[in-house]
């Protein structure tokens, strides 16, 4: 058997391009990194014939950076293949993506692999409910099939059986395009066919529906994000942790679904995340990521009117109560969950949701 390339010998991933440079501090400190994990991150904002998108490259950068950070995915930077589009260019093409995939597969064949993240953000369409076309920059009515088949790529990754887990995220529209045949990977060849790989698949929207991007206030910074990608990053950054500080498959999917719907609704859109899990022998409580942090926020409640106020927690335990005057504020640390604030005099009541991502929050009652 011919020697396979080791990590240090592997071709360098594409340049970071528009992304800020990040390092994995564990590598610098000589601490362990997740050497068995890999990622292909594709963000396509620039198209020859289709409208330009604002979010894909930005969102792809954020995910790439999370994957590399020590307190994020803790991946070796050379294991993260970042493939952005560029203005005035037709890259990436299918070859660029297949080349990255091929490099990863070679590495995974050489040394046992645990996890592969596959992320695509850009224009897309639903060829049918299970096949999404991931549009390449050259896609146009003349290059009608210049899109990658989500199902073919996912099938390839699962059937290769080289990874224990595959996380497949698609932030693209699933509007119908009829009579299309999105492209399969060029990486054919014999497939072991074991298909034991667990695959967690998330589509940003249901079949036939668009996925939206919009201007969002991200801790004071105004940026355009895909609703789904924003929720995905928030989930990974701690929004999806349970009360043990773990992100499980369930808490991860629930959080992204809920937040994507919320962000869409805030802009008068409807967007419902579609998820599928294949070959899950671990169970839905399988821990995807450990944060070691207990989620919560410091909440400022500003009272617009006076009253006799009671604030209850998720299990109805009373957190704080008392008479307040108009203009008064409460500053209270709250854990992740639903809380209910009630004015005993007017019987007015409201639910407050603390999702675990915000460090500070102001609520008016």
């Amino acid at each position: 058997m011919s020697p396979k390339p080791l990590v240090s010998e592997a071709p360098l991933p594409p340049t970071t391009g528009p992304c800020e440079e990040v390092t994995n501090e564990n590598l610098i400190k000589g601490l362990p990194v997740n050497e068995q994990d890999y990622a292909i991150i594709v963000g396509i904002s620039h198209y020859t014939s289709l409208a330009q998108l604002n979010a894909p490259v930005t969102d792809a950068c954020r995910l790439r950076n999370w994957l590399i950070k020590a307190d994020g995915g803790n991946l070796h930077p050379q294991h993260v293949f970042f493939i952005p589009s560029a203005p005035g260019s037709n890259i990436p093409d299918q070859l660029a993506i297949d080349k990255a995939l091929s490099d990863i597969l070679q590495l995974a064949e050489a040394k046992p692999a645990r996890r592969l993240y596959f992320y695509f953000s850009g224009h897309g369409f639903g060829a049918n409910w299970e096949v999404n076309g991931m549009c390449l920059p050259i896609w146009s009515p003349s290059f009608y099939n210049a899109a990658l088949s989500s199902k073919a790529y996912l099938d390839l990754l699962v059937e290769k059986d080289l990874f224990k887990e595959v996380y497949f995220f698609l932030d693209s529209c699933r509007d119908r395009k009829i009579n299309t045949k999105p492209l399969h990977s060029m990486l054919g060849g014999p497939r072991p066919g074991g298909a034991n790989t667990m695959a967690v698949v998330m589509y940003a929207s249901e079949y036939e529906n668009p996925a939206w991007e919009g201007m969002m206030n991200n801790n004071g910074n105004l940026q355009v994000h895909g609703y789904f990608s924003r929720a995905l990053l928030e989930a990974l950054n701690g929004g999806a942790v349970n009360n043990s500080g773990d992100i499980t498959i369930t808490s991860f999917l629930d959080y992204i679904r809920e937040k994507t719907e919320t962000y869409a609704k805030e802009k008068n859109h409807t967007q419902t995340v579609r998820s599928d899990i294949r070959n899950n022998s671990y169970g839905l409580d399988y821990v995807i990521h450990k944060t070691g942090r207990t989620p919560g926020t410091v909440l400022t409640i500003r009272f617009k009117t006076g009253g006799d106020i009671s604030l209850d927690g998720p299990d109805l335990s009373n957190i704080k109560s008392g008479v307040v005057q108009a203009g008064e504020s409460w500053l209270i640390p709250l854990g992740k969950g639903y809380h209910q604030i009630t004015d005993k005099i007017s019987k007015r009541s409201s639910f407050i949701t603390i999702d675990g991502t915000l460090k500070t929050m102001i609520y008016e009652f």
């Binding site: 070859l95 409910w129 009579n179 109805l316 854990g335």
Partner: protein
């Protein structure tokens, strides 16, 4: 929570139309998903704050609950819109339902067939206001539609005295009593400008429809002949993915408050979205052997065989065995389902041949999958073989980009006779190139074929392991169709080589690769 925390019952129920298909999720106060299911959840939970999410038909309803006593929480289902003009749908109106009922019992064309099944078509807008907004000229909804027989000859155009319609409220009905067999609803396409000024092109489409008859030996049915009912909603043109198809006893016609029709529509809608869900009530009906609606059985079987579930294997083996007597053993529908069932149970693929498409796209796709290893399952040069690379995948029903209907082709042959070379070329690749006449025109049209261009893309990019089966799998078409397409390209390679602005894929290297796998 500790052991002293009081617990209470929380019952969450979806009430209203399509409640069987309303998906409910309950989250506890810590935002953890603690229960999910359809229609009703019965839970015993510690006191606390909870939230409930109900999803149905793209609508999402969220509610918060403070649980301090046994609580029964009912959530009305949101309004549902459907092509089916059933009483409890928001988009049904008396001016539609009444006429649908009426003309499902009264044929709009007189035929010589007395003993037979029937096809009933009902097209309409969502309401009168939409008709006024989208069809100011009050054009007939039958425009561009024809009903073809099994040989693709026109039986009826949906025009004039063949139909009944009211262009004011916006509906059209067609009803013909017909012999058992396969028919095709042909649509010739439509170009229009939408509100935003964009030019839109609704391409031609053809949809197979089957007229069924039950076996004479089957007892207890209200009628051995069935009426195939098609409901279609219009926007700027026909919205095909909205199409609902039902199979009802012919003499009963359409019943607008039939509870079973809501379930069929719900099943179809979930199936369309890749959700393989079968409500308990549907399964119970099958267990009790209720066969008033064969469509429910067909749809449920397709749903079940598409899913990885194994909970009801025996039940669906029985259903698959019952359907031939109910709908006819030789129908494409039954044969395709037998193929799909064999794939599901990992049984040997039955030795059968299909020449016509079935009504369910899932059935056609199963047959195409089976053809990779069993090419004889699709009859050579049949209509089914012809359409495998022209399938639309935007609805649960089979539909495809059709050849022009015979009159159109004859007309073209009369007006544009070609050279002998062109004539022979025309015969060989007629299905790809349509009505083009000169080699240059044929070559250019060939280049525009999605199947040809994608096949050439793969040929160029793939260096190793080029074989027909791999290409068939990538293109999702039978190996025979790949072979024929390659033969067509090679047959035309001479005429193509001089075509201006030809794509790079048509180079010597690729043509040689094609020859090597021919």
């Amino acid at each position: 929570m500790n052991s002293n925390t009081p617990t209470f019952k929380l019952t969450v129920t979806a009430v209203g139309v399509m409640s069987d298909f309303a998906h409910i999720t309950v989250y506890n106060g810590f935002l953890e998903d603690i229960a999910r299911g359809y229609e009703q959840l019965d839970l015993t939970l510690p006191q606390g704050l909870y939230s409930i999410t109900l999803k149905l038909d793209g609508n999402i309803i969220k509610e918060h609950v403070r649980l301090t006593e046994d609580t029964r929480y009912e959530i009305p289902t949101p309004p549902v819109y459907s092509s089916l003009v059933a009483d409890r749908f928001e988009s049904s109106h008396e001016y539609y339902t009444h006429n649908a009922q009426h003309y499902s019992l009264e044929p709009t064309v007189q035929t010589s067939t007395i003993e037979g099944g029937a096809i009933f078509l009902f097209f309409r807008y969502t309401d009168l206001n939409k008709r006024k907004e989208l069809n100011t000229e009050q054009l007939s909804l039958g425009d561009g539609f024809s009903l073809l027989d099994a040989n693709r000859q026109i039986l009826y155009t949906l025009q004039g005295s063949n139909i009944r319609e009211d262009t004011e409220t916006g509906w059209m009905a067609f009803h013909a009593v017909l012999p058992v067999g396969t028919y095709y609803l042909h649509y010739s396409g439509y170009k229009f400008e939408s509100d935003d000024g964009r030019a839109n092109d609704l391409p031609a489409r053809e949809i197979p429809l089957q007229v069924f008859k039950s076996s004479d030996s089957l007892q207890g049915l209200p009628d051995k002949y069935w009426q195939t009912q098609v409901f279609l909603t219009f926007g700027y043109g026909p919205i095909f993915p909205s199409m609902s198809v039902f199979i009802a006893p012919r003499k009963s016609g359409f019943i607008n408050n039939d509870e079973g029709n809501y379930r069929i529509d719900g099943l179809r809608h979930k199936f369309h979205n890749g959700v393989y869900y079968l409500p308990e009530k549907v399964l119970l009906e099958f267990e009790q052997g209720q066969w008033i609606s064969p469509m429910k059985g067909l749809l449920a079987a397709y749903v079940y065989f598409s899913s990885p579930e194994t909970d009801n294997e025996l039940l669906f083996r029985n259903i698959a065995q019952d359907l031939p007597a109910l709908l006819g053993e030789d129908t494409p529908e039954v044969k395709a389902l037998q193929v799909m069932a064999a794939q599901y149970y990992k049984d040997p693929i039955p030795e059968l041949t299909l020449s016509q498409p079935c009504m369910f796209l899932a059935g056609v796709r199963s047959v195409i999958r089976a053809s990779i290893k069993h090419p004889d399952i699709i009859a050579e040069d049949s209509l089914l073989e012809d359409i495998t690379d022209k399938l639309y995948c935007d609805m649960v029903w089979t539909s495809y980009l059709p050849d022009p209907i015979p009159e159109v082709k004859e007309q073209m042959a009369d007006t544009a006779p070609g050279s002998s070379l062109t004539a022979s070329i025309f015969n060989v690749v007629e299905r790809i190139i349509g009505g083009e006449t000169t080699p240059e025109e044929i070559g250019e049209k060939l280049l525009q074929s999605q199947t040809v261009s994608t096949l050439l893309y793969y040929i160029e990019k793939l260096n190793d392991d080029l074989n027909v089966n791999d290409l068939a799998s990538r293109l999702q078409i039978p190996p025979n169709v790949v072979r024929k397409t390659i033969n067509h390209i090679l047959a035309f390679s001479d005429s193509i080589k001089d075509v201006k602005r030809k794509p790079d894929q048509f180079n010597i290297s690729n043509i040689n690769k094609l020859k090597s796998i021919q």
